[in-house]
């Protein structure tokens, strides 16, 4: 059986397992938000960025280009102690069925003074005049208008609250992430079957997209990256940091003999992302490429084995660096690992330019979904990079990713 068929069957079986309860997922998330509001002494949060809106609204909102999204925003208001969120949207029919009708409102458009005045009036009907209100972003009109039009509100940032609530995944959120990952691996496998000299990279994207939607993906979050890697860094485009140039925009470049392709694909199931990245060889890998794979595999396996509650990002970075002969085995402009959730990477990263202090503060806890993305590289021979997802459990980690390291098996 081909890999594409095998993985499609795995995805189909997962989607039919009956383990996902979306009503429970929304209820659990709302309860977490209410607990956070109470802990932080906020009366309400008003959310307008898309990931937070997905989380708090429970809507299956269409993923759209940013240039369109700003003018078709959905906003959410969560009021302390209230059983359901208030949704302001141009898609009322996408509101969760359990929401009382008086919690679904016409959209806000806070992009000029009249729109902000309208926001203050309508949100003002739902929160006290002296409310402490968390907001996750401001349009320019909100930045200028809210302090003047709602002088009683005490405005705070809602971002730390949302970051904290979203960090630990519930059983249903984990199920969504499993489904997203399996669909994504199956779509990658269908694209990999096309890889041969003469195929265009955008044809890989086409097949990838086709399989995503056929298999039940609910959205795509990233322009899919299928990149023929330069064998030497100097062959790639100019960069600010001189590191391996990845991830670049996919072009209609024709794949040639001996090419190495790296992928990076982020799509969603009920808003939850997968982040599948693979390395494909158009021909048989060279001896050096095999050893780069083996080195990558050693690093990846060791880091995966070390992932359990209580371990810090700094420890994982140190381990990976030690196994790579003292050089960090990840891209300078990215990181060794990051958390995953709605829409793609979330706020926690280790090995990034936030620095070692941030890596030390990042301690793995049960319920976190963490992607690691080590690379190995030998200038002139290209390199190896894949992404692997684990869910941190009470005493270890459950690995979600399972794409085979063809052709090394």
């Amino acid at each position: 059986m081909s890999l594409a068929i095998e993985y499609a069957e795995k995805a189909d079986a997962r989607l039919a397992n009956g383990r996902l309860d979306l009503v429970r997922m929304r209820r659990d998330r709302h309860a977490k938000l209410l607990a956070q509001l109470a802990d932080r002494h906020l009366d309400a949060i008003l959310l307008i960025t898309s990931g937070n809106v997905l989380y708090a609204s429970g809507m299956r909102l269409p993923a759209v280009d940013g240039g369109r999204a700003v003018h078709q925003r959905t906003a959410v208001l969560v009021v302390a102690g209230e059983r359901y969120p208030h949704i302001f949207t141009s898609w009322p029919e996408l509101a969760p069925g359990e929401l009382p009708p008086d919690h679904v409102h016409p959209p806000l458009w806070p992009d000029n003074e009249a729109g902000v005045a309208d926001l203050v009036r309508r949100v003002g009907d739902l929160v006290p005049a002296d409310a402490v209100v968390g907001v996750d972003d401001s349009t320019f009109a909100m930045h200028v208008g809210l302090p003047r039009l709602a002088p009683g509100w005490q405005l705070k940032s809602a971002t730390p609250l949302l970051v904290a609530a979203r960090l630990h995944k519930t059983e249903d959120e984990v199920e969504c992430m499993w489904r997203a990952w399996l669909i994504n691996e199956a779509a990658n496998a269908a694209a990999e079957e096309l890889v041969r000299p003469g195929v265009r990279l955008t044809e890989l994207v086409g097949t990838y997209y086709r399989r995503l939607y056929e298999l039940g993906a609910t959205c795509n979050f990233l322009d899919p990256v299928f990149q023929v890697m330069p064998s030497r860094i100097a062959d790639g485009p100019w960069s600010t940091n001189g590191d391996v140039p990845f991830a670049l925009i996919t072009t209609d470049q024709v794949v040639g003999a001996g090419d190495v392709i790296w992928t990076d694909t982020v799509m969603g199931y009920e808003g939850y992302s997968s982040d599948v990245g693979r390395t494909w060889f158009v021909d048989r890998p060279t001896a050096t490429q095999r050893s780069l794979y083996e080195q990558w595999s050693d690093i990846t396996q060791a880091v995966l084995d070390a992932m359990k509650p209580g371990v810090s990002g700094a420890e994982l970075c140190a381990l990976a660096t030690e196994l790579n002969g003292g050089r960090k085995p990840w891209l300078d402009h990215y990181f060794l690992g990051h958390t995953l959730g709605l829409e793609g990477g979330e706020q926690q990263r280790f090995g990034s330019d936030l620095g070692p202090e941030a890596d030390e503060k990042l301690i793995l806890e049960p319920g976190m979904a963490v992607v690691i993305e080590p690379i190995t590289w030998a200038d002139g021979e290209c390199g190896y990079r894949c992404e692997e997802l684990v869910i941190i459990t009470d005493d270890g980690a459950e690995r979600v990713s399972s794409y085979p390291d063809t052709p090394f098996l």
Binding site: R68, S90, D111, Y209
Partner: protein
Amino acid sequence: MTATLVGAEYGPAFAELRAERKARVLAAMERDGVDALILGRSGNGKYVAGHRDLWRAVLGGFGPMVVLVRSTGGIHLAASTWDDGIPAEIPHENLTGLTWNPREAVSGLVRAEGLSDCNRIAADGMSPGIAGLLDMLAPGVELVDGEALMREVRRVKTPAEIEVMRTGIGIAEGCLAAAVERIAPGVSEREVQAAFMDAMASSYAVTIPAFAGIFRVAGDLPPLPGASGRVVSDGDSFVISAAVMYAGYEAAVVRTWVPGQPAEEPAALTELVAACRPGCLPSQLAAFAGDQPQPGPVVVGLGMGVEPPVAGGPADLTGFANEPLEAGMVLGLQLWSGGVLSGCMVQVRDGEPVRLTPPRTAP
């Protein structure tokens, strides 16, 4: 068919288009006494810089992505580790790499030559932190609404922009044809959506949809966004509303496929198109829907993404829906009536409006 369209985005015609857009922005800044623009919204940033970045369907919080200083004419880009996708006129020293550190995220901004001499800066979003930083950088600086400035500049399209949008519409029409070809009894909504997406990337080398689209078996109610596993049965009509992004511009297509019938345009749409004239209010266009519930706005401005006005359907709002149309605007129209979703793109001009989407009169 395989067209090579991606590379064209960086050819000479596009260099002229970028120069023309930048000149319009600089003229608006001069008129309003704005010394620098700080932009975080993707449509605004791309209008000024003309770069292509790695697209994400995520609407995050405000962060400065593109800075334009009027005194130097310099364009500075954040989150740009490579010069891949960056127009040649933007020098390497104006690029700041990807960063995950909020302090670093504004470092490129701070370095933008001439920014500290500014008295008035226009931004299309703001946060207390960035406002404080700008005040430290240029004490007493006045912040004004950059979204309003960009909205006005972007509203009227140049002939070159119209040409790019026509190319985009051609691509979207090709994708639509591939999707329609897939419709048959036993085929699911998702498979029709999949055919559209496959054609977009495989045939036209375009990899960015403007939104997830509507791919639905038609029913009595307006169709929902997205697609489901529902399978087409004998006699079903099928509704498609989708769009692609070509060279930063959005191109939309709308069609209802009725089995065994030519895709005739509903009279209501023909009348709506004819009404798109200077001076007409978007709210008057929205009124063409009558009492019929709509699956989305009846009229949106189109360009580098959606632009105001957005009127009709559940999005009917005051503010921009009552600003009269003017010549040079491009509108996307969509009307649900009698179980049929129809639509097209129209250029408003003095006299008869120009249909950018070819009318459908034959099978």
